[in-house]
């Protein structure tokens, strides 16, 4: 079980949260002019990083706010938690994976 430090409520158990996939994916500006392939890429294609991954979580049973988490997908260790819209913090990335 992960303990996730909600930037608003404080540390809570993983069961209170829902997962939102990869963070920092920008919505294409002129979506009406995209091909199906480009739109499909935006909607469905997330990277599947082994190592430090920047991802979105929402505190479903708490404050219901979205925020970003930097989590190591090998050890599950959470390295940073930061607000939506903020730049990801500088992290010492593992180089053994």
């Amino acid at each position: 079980m992960l303990e996730i430090n909600c930037p608003y409520c404080g540390p809570r158990f993983e069961t209170e949260f829902s997962y939102g996939g990869e963070a920092h994916i920008e919505r294409p500006k002129d979506s009406e002019n995209l091909t199906d392939e480009q739109w499909g890429d935006y909607v469905f294609m997330n990277s599947n990083t082994k190592g430090v991954f920047l991802e979105r979580w929402v505190h479903t049973s708490g404050c219901r706010r979205w925020f970003n988490v930097a989590r190591d997908t090998v050890s599950y260790q959470i390295l940073a938690v930061y607000e939506t819209g903020a730049k990801p913090p500088k992290l010492d990335l593992r180089n053994d994976v």
Binding site: Y8, C9, R12, E16, S61, G62, R65
Partner: protein
């Protein structure tokens, strides 16, 4: 507003008034329903002085800014739900409060939602109240973490709830749950409290 003769608690089928114990000296947990608590949901930007001023002019209290904190005004309690969201809890009609707030906040980026009696309030207190709630919730209910006079949202036995820990000598919690979950949660808590001794109170 509900016509008075139609108003019925979601826990009415448990006949709680008939179970109120005259004596509950040694029970670890006492339970009660706080009937017909009413709620107005408020959202807005607490960094805007215009917003906090307007709220205070109507409620007589500032929206609490510290996470999980509570403020009280005249006949109302304000619970922090998020960085821009609060609950205004009252035993009186919600429509006049909601209307006054909407008027005071006109033109601002804020929203007032009258939740009315959509939630049921279950009170659980006594020496073993925290141990009982901990059976169904991942929050730490110890005084040093969940201080009297604070609140928290979480899951209790898989129902989404809002806890308000009252400032009292013995551990005292008020648990707000959606009315459709009220009977389930009452029975769950009462069952969990059985080993400590449980009594229904006023």
């Amino acid at each position: 507003m509900v016509e008075a003769y139609l108003r019925q608690s979601p826990l009415s089928q448990l006949a709680l008034p008939s179970r109120i114990a005259a004596e509950h000296g040694n029970t670890g947990v006492t339970m009660a329903e706080r009937q017909f608590r009413r709620i107005v949901n408020l959202r807005g930007n607490p960094k805007s002085e215009e917003f906090t001023k307007a709220v205070k002019s109507v409620l007589g209290a500032d929206p609490p800014l510290m996470p999980n904190s509570v403020n009280t005004g005249k006949d109302i309690t304000l619970l922090w739900l998020g960085p821009d969201e609060w609950w205004i809890i009252t035993d009186a009609d919600t429509a006049p409060v909601a209307d006054k707030l909407r008027e005071a906040l006109a033109g601002q980026h804020a929203v007032v939602t009258d939740v009315g009696e959509g939630y049921t309030c279950i009170a659980a207190s006594g020496a073993s109240a925290a141990d009982t709630l901990a059976k169904g919730c991942t929050l730490d209910f110890h005084d040093s973490v969940f201080a009297p006079g604070s609140c928290a949202q979480s899951d209790m036995a898989k129902a989404v709830v809002v806890f308000h820990r009252l400032e009292a000598d013995k551990p005292s919690f008020e648990i707000y749950v959606r009315s459709s979950f009220a009977e389930y949660l009452w029975r769950w808590i009462e069952n969990a409290a059985e080993e400590y001794g449980v009594a229904v109170t006023q």
